[in-house]
């Protein structure tokens, strides 16, 4: 007879995971964004990545940043995840401003401002401010994409844009191999820790040396893996030329599961129109130029800077 036992403790309700780990971060398991075709989402990525190039007004780029954040929230992205980008976001700002303070350039039209013991110039500093928000707006376009698209979505989008199979395959395998490389790295580190290595107690110089030494086994594993994967590809009938059996066209089973719907076309066309309109009004009329910035105008008035 089989003995059974009960603990008397009620099991906690199972936690339903909200995010799925990808090789590039996390994406929500369910998101309203997923109703759009992967190619639409890729075009959205390009749209948000490129449109700030035409916009010099920090106010508009700041607004674009909030639009991105709004889409992320609507798309159920865990906003806390964005904290990992904070160091980069702050140090970009630091770098951009330090460069214009140290190397403002020489221009008689620049207005000097004394800030404590140092003299800064208004125009390059405001230029750096505007450039910073352009950059951040573009970066958030990228963050939005990687926070809401799995590797599979990227591949489907690339194949939908008729990229050769080998190109999308290389991109997919690259992303996956990045994950494998990290996994190998973790395994090597754990093996060292299991043997009593305490990296926290090490001096920075020794830590750097140690990290460098990890690269030797990591590269060796990559070499072996290249052999294994190429063998697996051969065994599955993959050829360098991409020729498929029967000499016909490759059926793309995964891509065939996705269909472009009306909402996709509406969004793609809308983004296209906004993009073209923005480019035209900026290139012909300079509507988004820095001199039209309300903040710039206000500061100039405040500081008594002419023009």
């Amino acid at each position: 007879m089989i003995a059974t036992a009960t603990t008397g403790v009620n099991a906690a309700p199972a936690r339903v995971p909200k995010a799925r780990k990808t090789l590039l971060g996390h994406v929500p398991i369910e998101s309203p964004l997923y109703q759009f075709h992967p190619v639409t989402r890729l075009i959205m990525f390009i749209f948000f990545g490129v449109i700030p190039l035409f916009i010099y007004l920090p106010e508009v780029n700041f607004l674009l940043l909030w639009v991105n954040m709004g889409i992320m929230r609507w798309g159920r992205v865990n906003i806390n995840e964005l904290r990992k980008y904070m160091p980069v976001i702050f140090t970009v700002a630091f770098f951009m401003f330090i460069v214009v303070v140290l190397a403002p350039g020489e221009d008689p039209s620049y207005t000097p401002l004394d800030v404590g013991p140092i003299t800064i110039y208004y125009q390059p500093v405001f230029f750096a401010f505007a450039a910073y928000w352009r950059l951040i707006a573009m970066l958030f376009g990228t963050i939005l994409y990687f926070s809401t698209n799995r590797e599979r979505d990227m591949l489907v989008a690339m194949r939908s844009l008729r990229l050769p199979f080998i190109a999308s395959y290389v991109v997919g395998l690259s992303i996956r191999s990045a994950g494998m490389f990290l996994e190998d790295f973790r395994t090597i580190r754990e093996a060292e820790q299991a043997r009593g290595l305490d990296t926290k107690a090490m001096r920075l110089r020794d830590q750097v040396k140690l990290y460098m030494m990890y690269l030797v086994p990591l590269f060796s594993i990559a070499l072996r893996r290249a052999d294994e994967i190429s063998n697996a590809l051969f065994a599955r009938g993959y050829t360098l030329t991409g020729r498929v059996g029967g000499g016909g066209k490759r059926a793309d089973y995964i891509r065939a599961q996705y269909k472009l719907r009306t909402r996709d076309w509406v969004l793609i066309v809308s983004m296209g129109l906004i993009f073209v309109a923005t480019a035209i009004v900026q290139m012909r009329f300079g509507v988004f130029s820095i001199e039209y910035s309300p903040l710039n105008i206000y500061l100039k008035q405040l500081l008594g800077i002419p023009g």
Partner: protein, 203 residues
Amino acid sequence: MEGQASSVWTIEEGEVRKPGIVHVVMLALFTGIGIVVGTFGSLAVPIGFVSAFWPGQAVQSIGSIWYGWWGGIAAGLFPLISNSLSGSAPLPVSIAYLPANILQGMVAGWAFRRWKADPSLKDGRDWGIWILWGSLVPNAIGAAWGSTMLVAFGLITQAAQLTTFLGWFIGNTIPTIVLGSLVLKYVSPLVVRSKAFCKGYWA
């Protein structure tokens, strides 16, 4: 010296070398390694979009030395992804960096083949070629092109270009020499015996 070095690159009589699936796979794996090294290099020392102290350059040079054009393609491809992941450059800027990334990757591969330097850095001549053509020249190309692109995109002023160039060049050259030398010295002996190693530019 010359005899030993040339043996790595010399194609033996009757030896047939042609591009195969293993090269495509190696391209992908090297791109993956570049993504990790490039992303974490930028995240660990986040000096922003000028990518100062960026160890990715070491991967670019090594890739072209070992795998010729396959490494060169990887050199162009992985910064597109690693810059996006680390947030160190937006997509249009990364695309604008592309020609310089391929070029700064391929310079080392070209020089090692041109002067038959041993990837395992066996003597002073190999070291000289590595430091000059694998580190200094590629980083000078990258820094010049990159800072010019930043000006072109209106992300820095013309006046800030020289400062950016110097920060970029110095900051990238140090990890390239440290990381690249170590990997070349200790991993090359394995690589030159592997079937993916390219004596020529494609095989």
